[in-house]
Subunit: 157 residues, 2 copies
């Protein structure tokens, strides 16, 4: 029952095409009769067929061709962007120097003072001095606090 109506629905275009074709054949037979009388009727008849069937072809193609579906993935941002934007205002407000920022970044990456010193080609004492200045400027006591505060202020990613 459901299948029957389903069949009609699915083949609606084909059925319509069949009906239309039958109508066309009827029209053609009618034209054939007239063609006996009118002068140059053959050309008119051929032209009519051409026009009708071209139209039919176009209609068929448009009706029966499945529209192509193109899936476009749309990016919707839902939170902090992956690309870090440095908060320069806060940086100048806190008066943090380039070198200090560098140390801060390596600090947040989990490096020890000794590792930072080696990476920046300076002594351990120098890093300790930078740290002390950083903690003072960020108003913190420990490196873990410094990292937390700096991240919160978007000074580091």
């Amino acid at each position: 029952m459901a299948n029957t109506s389903n069949f009609f629905a699915k083949n609606k275009s084909v059925i319509l095409y069949g009906v239309f074709l039958a109508a066309l054949l009827f029209l053609l037979k009618w034209l054939e009769l007239r063609f006996m009388i009118i002068d140059h009727a053959f050309e008119i008849y051929a032209g009519s067929i051409a026009v009708i069937f071209t139209t039919l072809g176009i209609w068929l193609a448009l009706k029966l061709t499945r529209p192509k579906t193109i899936l476009i993935e749309k990016e919707i941002f839902t939170g902090k962007p992956e690309t870090f934007i440095l908060n320069e205002k806060e940086l100048t407000k806190l008066n943090i120097s380039k070198r200090e920022l560098e140390v801060l970044q390596l600090m947040s990456a989990g490096l020890s003072n000794q590792e930072i010193a080696l990476k920046l080609f300076v002594s351990l004492n120098t890093i300790k001095t930078h740290n002390a200045r950083l903690f003072e400027k960020l108003e913190v006591k420990r490196r873990t606090q410094a990292i937390e505060t700096a991240k919160r202020l978007s000074i580091i990613p």
Copy 2:
């Protein structure tokens, strides 16, 4: 100069159509000649026209019609979500206990071991033990590394 070749390129379909139409007319004339001889040739001629022009119509429609596209926008969420989602899989994979996670969170908040001990009403030694287990499980050496790794794995915000 560039415009000329551009013109041909852009109207290629139309030009092709014109050429094809000329060829068709030639074919029709040839068929017209034959139609004088063969019996029932008129029906064949008409049928030929019908078939040819139906094909032509379909071809035209497919060639000249812009492909119908249905745009389906799929939302892709980018960026770290503002609302932290705990990566429980990683948590169970690393076998990190509730208490250890608690310590880890306070650690990343910048608290010292002593402060964490006071906050959780346990001794400093206990916190140190938790830390040692955490570092072992996270495969790190320092608390700053632990914080970095844990954040990267979405174990802590």
